[in-house]
């Protein structure tokens, strides 16, 4: 089994008068066990030149499990974003430089993760899926 570690650090000296300094770390394991996840897509990139929504991960292609999804908007233009949908409902938008990491229940073909770029110029997202 593999050992995959995901660490998060959140810092702000001035968001409130109590400075923020949160660090946490997780080891990706199979659902309900201490056994590490065994599969990943690798860190990949997809470049588009249209605003057409596309399926990033097909829910029907993966079983249930403690899957984790990483997505990053690589743009450096503040106004450019990518909209993330799951089960055809909008989760949120990643603006330039933003990244996210979330668990994914690939329990049905309806639970696809879909992305829609905001621009029809060259636009790149980076992504990875860690799965059972």
């Amino acid at each position: 089994m593999a050992t995959i570690t995901a660490s998060l650090t959140l810092t702000s000296p001035d968001l409130t008068t109590d400075s923020l300094n949160l660090s946490t770390s997780a080891t990706f394991t199979k659902a309900g066990t201490s056994t590490g996840l065994t599969s990943c897509t690798g860190v990949a990139r997809k470049t588009t030149t249209a605003t057409t929504q596309y399926v990033l991960f097909d829910g029907d292609a993966f079983g249930n499990g403690a899957h984790k999804v990483y997505i990053k908007n690589t743009s450096s233009t503040a106004a450019e974003y990518v909209t993330i949908e799951i089960n055809s409902e909008q989760m949120g938008k990643l603006y330039a430089g933003d990244w996210c990491l979330f668990p994914w229940e690939a329990n049905a073909d309806t639970n696809d993760i879909k992305l829609a770029p905001s621009v029809s110029t060259t636009f790149t997202v980076e992504y990875a899926l860690f799965y059972e």
Partner: protein, 137 residues
């Protein structure tokens, strides 16, 4: 405006023959701008004595929506039982995924659907925080 940074590191020496070593930092800014987010809930910790069903941790009615760059952090900080997962959901029975003990997530949020958690066991503990903009861009 506030300067808030979020850094992720993903590492593995053995998931593939090519070691994984990724670190990315982003400044949390308002949608489409270089201006920092201006609202924060603080980091909340809840220890639920009983299992929860669709407990709202981020209510859409309390936040600006649509053209926003809110971020939601949630962690399952339960220590006792590796099977005590929490389900991260959006309003309308949209299941995002499960966080097992020790897992965390950091997700963008449009502020259009409540973010909810469901737990399967009593004595599950979570931490969460919402970074948001007070007015949509």
């Amino acid at each position: 405006m506030a300067t808030t940074q979020a850094t992720i590191s993903l590492t593995s020496s053995d998931i593939t023959g090519d070691p994984l070593n990724l670190t990315k930092t982003t400044l949390l800014t308002k949608a489409g701008t270089d201006t920092g987010l201006d609202e924060f809930t603080g980091i909340t910790k809840r220890l639920y004595p009983a299992a929860q069903t669709d407990t709202v941790i981020a209510a859409d009615a309390s936040y600006a929506s649509t053209t926003v760059a809110h971020k939601v952090y949630v962690a399952n900080v339960t220590s006792a039982n590796v099977t005590s997962y929490i389900m991260i959901e959006m309003e309308g029975n949209i299941l995002v995924g499960r966080l097992y003990p020790g897992d965390w997530c950091f997700i963008p949020w449009a502020g259009t659907l409540d973010i909810m958690v469901t737990t399967v066991d009593p004595h599950v503990a979570i931490e969460y925080g919402i970074f948001s903009q007070s007015v949509a861009s």
